[in-house]
Symmetry: C2
Subunit: 446 residues, 2 copies
Amino acid sequence: MTDKYAKIVSKGLGKDVAKRLGLPQPVELRRHQPGAPLIDGPVLVNGDSRGADDLATTLLGWGLDVRRHALPKEKLGAIIVVLDAVQHPEDLGKPVLTIGASLRDLAPNGRVITLSRTAGSASGPASAAARQGVDGLLRSLAKELRAGATANGLLLDADLATTSPSALGALRFFLSGRSAYVDGQFLTISSSSGSLPFDAEKPLAGKVAVVTGAARGIGAAIARTLHRDGAKVVLVDVPAAGDHLAAVANEVRGTALQLDITRDDAGHRIIDHAVERHGRLDVVVHNAGITRDRLLANMDERRWQSVIAVNIAAQLRINEALLASEHFKERPRIVSVASTSGIAGNRGQTNYAASKGGVIGMVRLTAPLMESFGGTINAVAPGFIETEMTARMPFVIREAARRANSLRQGGQPRDVAEAIAFLASDAAGGISGEVLRVCGQQLVGA
Amino acid sequence: MTDKYAKIVSKGLGKDVAKRLGLPQPVELRRHQPGAPLIDGPVLVNGDSRGADDLATTLLGWGLDVRRHALPKEKLGAIIVVLDAVQHPEDLGKPVLTIGASLRDLAPNGRVITLSRTAGSASGPASAAARQGVDGLLRSLAKELRAGATANGLLLDADLATTSPSALGALRFFLSGRSAYVDGQFLTISSSSGSLPFDAEKPLAGKVAVVTGAARGIGAAIARTLHRDGAKVVLVDVPAAGDHLAAVANEVRGTALQLDITRDDAGHRIIDHAVERHGRLDVVVHNAGITRDRLLANMDERRWQSVIAVNIAAQLRINEALLASEHFKERPRIVSVASTSGIAGNRGQTNYAASKGGVIGMVRLTAPLMESFGGTINAVAPGFIETEMTARMPFVIREAARRANSLRQGGQPRDVAEAIAFLASDAAGGISGEVLRVCGQQLVGA
């Protein structure tokens, strides 16, 4: 669970040696600390559209130190590139070259964030080319940044304003330390729903959230993060994990529900528990998942079916109960944990990748079913995360997987939890049916 | 342009040493030879749906040695898994475990091909989960196959039959040596348009095809492949490449057109040349492209703009002329060369990735504009291809890029050309707006 290599090469002699040998030198990422500023240093808002002006005004209103033009030699906390009005690939050059000239002034752990529009909503080929061009550009740029800096993009659907609630919500997420391990990714804002929290430190105040698989690892981190953000948490895990579950539940002042999620009545039990104990149910995080790796040539039915049963069939059944419940109708949120394996596939994981690909398909087709009552459903897809599970991997495979991303290190369970907490919040109300990778821009892809 | 390592480890002592050291051992891929059978060995058609039955009957009609159940110890040329009727992730287990048991009997350079439906056209979450599950499954399986065997999938939109023309066309492509370097990929069949060729060896007989950047490398390979498939080829390149261009044009008995494609009138010149010299214009392959790599922090306007101008702006302008021309209305085909860099980004290539991402956006939004007259537009995205350009890469970077894919080797220019020839054919009439990666299932992704 610890990355000894990263510690050795981050200071003193180790740092010096690693630098001389050209070895990867991961830096300690800036992560969210309660009370810390959203971003350290000035924020350059580049772009001359109305959308850029409006955004700059809003950021000034947040108390950020906003620049519309870079000052010589001044270190920048973030560079925001507003490309909402580009109509042709030739329009990209001026803004992109302008920010290119400022990249050397980007502070460690800084941020580059693009705001552009979805290619699918373009009016024609030239506009679509410009918009999809931002995709190739941003992903390349993310691979060029160093020292913990990341590049991510917001995609506004159709005519949404740059200051629509979830655009601002996602912008805050990307600027903050909450997105430390999200790199080279896009989030699509598909509606003007959503609202920024009254208290930025407690965006989930008043919400009741259920987390499955909460006894340890990523699930426990999710429970802690939702609690930190103000939610009352119901922690679900199998009876065999009862002691761990109780310990985490006590820590976050939540309640424990021992439950096998593959039971037919799991959804009803979850709803009943939340409503009876806490009076409501706002957020369900489908985190519980298992692996039973084996090459397909050696796969047996038990391994295959158990992974499908826990990782996707249970989610489908629980969601049916949620969608049918009168207690899950006030802007509810579902967030599922998928995996980069479900996107790119992984040797030895046909069953796991099928289940996690399944989660992605499920999320996309469930989103429209939740729209009428202001609900959203999204997935996060973790890459290499430092857990007990990855700690058991053989050394060479673990090291390779750990470094094969733009941040040259594994993520922490809390990084996954932060993305989930954001998607569970009111600020993400305009985001639904999306898959957000939390992978440090992991090399593997489709 | 040659892969000495692959030659050394493919036989004799080198093979033995590589095996003992656990080094990658790329095999020589089966590539299309005129007159060779579509596939060597029996084809197992797995699945008990009506779609599976119909497909098996069709393949029998092609003279293939079809099995509906595996025979003990018999080597298989291909395994086709028909999953067109799955409704729930739990439906995947039986067919997948059945083919898993047959994987050890798959011959070297064999094929696994799934036929399933697009997740987007699913009727609800469970069905979408099953369909998207096939994605994770197939990509995992492709990473498990060895000895030149590949796994690819067909995605049928909505209610399309397994025997619709382009499903069969794509199936033939995937079975054949033409798809040697396509691995872990899906092709979506979106309509019942298209027709199989009268002469399978000359699928482009009677067609006039334009190829830009045809003087060398991938462009020359495209010209040769389109010629082999029966097309009359117009070879376009800049005047400075005139000698090379003339040589390739002579070789393929085509005509050369010296032209800077960034000229305003490039589209009209292409159309005029084709119609005046050959009486018609059926296929345009946008292959011409340049790289001007530089980190964005060091990028200058000339490098940025020239890449955008050649790689995407020229294509947009030429397509406008094509779409407006009365000579490009009989089931015409446009095929653009994108790049995996345009999908995943690449360090030092913000300009190139923006242009190639642009190509992908352009293709998607141009597809509907060509539908009314039976036209299609698609892109291929090459991964690491052995060309003069990649031969100039530093040794270590080249070796890493060459092996970072499931086939453990770079592709050949002809592999890209084969995919383009397929997409240019009548058999691909039901495929439009798609991007087909020719990358050996390259590790890098979005």
